[in-house]
Assembly symmetry: C2
Homo-oligomer: 153 residues x 2
Amino acid sequence: MRLTSYTDYALRTLIYLGTHRDRLVTIQDIADLHAISKNHLMKVVHQLGVSGMVDTVRGRNGGLRLKREPADINIGAVVRNTETDFYMAECFDPANQGCAYSASCTLKGVLGAATAAYLKVLDGVTLADMLAGAPQADAFSPVRIYPRAALPG
Amino acid sequence: MRLTSYTDYALRTLIYLGTHRDRLVTIQDIADLHAISKNHLMKVVHQLGVSGMVDTVRGRNGGLRLKREPADINIGAVVRNTETDFYMAECFDPANQGCAYSASCTLKGVLGAATAAYLKVLDGVTLADMLAGAPQADAFSPVRIYPRAALPG
């Protein structure tokens, strides 16, 4: 059972923004820190913008910042928003009505209850709760850029 | 967030065996019913055998049957056994120690608590509970085989 990497990066982006509220953050900062694709991260950031969690400032000195207070960013809401689906079995797919058990099977109910319990835990957590245990500000710095003189060759 | 199709088929196999305790069931019966690959199902059944949940009788009239009473087959144990992992984010992968947040990040704890809540629901359910709501015996029949005369052409 996995969350998508999309959700993983959305959560890490929010954590980064929450620990760098003193400045605008660039997508490059976060991509460098996690050594992930900037293109992939741009899609994540775009959706966080559409859902009103992240604000984008354009221009040469532009960047990203949280649009809401961390206490107002619910982790359950983020995960519901970034996961494409919670299809625990074929019967969760609305396009698939083919399961021979579907008429009276209890599988969907059992797996649905487990998924609800999963999301209920996340619904009880805000970004502020998560930041409370995280180091503040520059503890999460982008990867160190070595001065040219220090590079081999 | 998804379970693997492997887990989905393992659960459906157990439900089928639990509702057909009057006879040996073949892999073909289950593959036909769900229109799924017999090869894929063979791997699922093999693992259910290794974990002591399903018994295989060899030979011309052989087939499968439950090795334990449905009340002794815990759904949480089945899912833990069939899912390859519960990696909710990169930090859940023991091979990946690269996350820049790992030292003090709360993400793993939060997602781990949610996963534990998910499994706790399943730990409270047995196959017998699931069968209690399911139709018995031949209600889950393999796909109907039309007599040759009824086929077009």
